[in-house]
Symmetry: C2
Subunit: 177 residues, 2 copies
């Protein structure tokens, strides 16, 4: 997908049309505008990403952190998806950008989901109780996205898999009991 490489602004409808073997007018017939096309793409890819994420969001507490250590491998396998979201996120930081509300919503819901898993771990007594789950959830997602960004930029010099493992181990040591 060209959006992942050139971003939304950097990609012409004609290029996308060529990629899917259709005319420019044909694409616009279906989506109405370039803006609507962006939102459709983002929504559809989000479904895919969520489906992948569900395997991670199943287990709670300690078990979640164990699974999380292996999450880097999934990103390496499907780097294109991570890149798409990263590029589009940066283009959407400004309120008023078409996809801004989508990304705000997406991060809020992901923070909540991760926080719930941590809370469950706290209630089961697997995790310490003297940390704020929402703050920790933001931290976990931040580390995940930030490391992915470094890896996308410079895959030869960044070991994404090792980074995830190392961070997850540190978290487990720090949050246990």
């Amino acid at each position: 997908m060209l959006f992942a490489r050139r971003g939304w602004r950097g990609t012409a409808i004609a290029d996308l049309a060529a990629e899917v073997g259709m005319s420019e007018a044909g694409l616009l017939h279906h989506f109405g505008s370039k803006r609507a096309l962006l939102l459709a793409v983002v929504a559809e890819r989000d479904v895919q990403a969520m489906a992948r994420g569900d395997s991670l969001f199943g287990p709670e507490g300690q078990e979640f952190l164990v699974r999380f250590a292996e999450f880097g491998e999934g990103i390496v396998e499907r780097g294109g998806l991570a890149r798409l979201f990263m590029v589009l996120l940066a283009e959407s930081l400004d309120p008023g950008e078409p996809a801004h509300p989508f990304f705000v919503q997406r991060f809020r819901s992901m923070r909540s989901r991760v926080a719930e898993l941590l809370i469950a771990g706290q209630e089961r007594g697997e995790l310490r109780k003297d940390f704020d789950p929402m703050v920790k959830a933001a931290e976990i997602l931040a580390m995940s996205d930030g490391l992915t960004a470094q890896w996308l930029l410079d895959p030869d010099d960044v070991d994404l898999v090792a980074g995830f493992r190392s961070y997850a181990e540190g978290l487990r040591r720090d949050l246990s009991r």
Copy 2:
């Protein structure tokens, strides 16, 4: 700076010219091309950012982690700079983009600098020795950038300062001794 809001691709030379009170042709007279203008801006802002970073990169080992806990406040104060780098980084992920080499270099050097501080801490016996300083350095920068991204997107729902503090404390607990 408009680059921080609209990105490089999204900003017309005419807009920049208006912002600094000059004509379009006048700007091009000085920089030659839009591409060169981008690189000049990035290089100049990098100097500012490095100057700020030096206060952080002074102390080593444990002391570094203490200072790092307060780094979030600096980002909040100068959010525009963080945003500029984030937007331009995402536009530069692709090799072949004008600023790609700059960002590759920048991250490599920052990882090295942070890693050195950790190594110094290890040698002084303040920090554990059974972790890879480069991997940990990447993690620290990742968390910093990732959390900044979440905060830029949704400042009302993300507490950047608390996030930095919480993460730095966790690191200190985990890496000590």
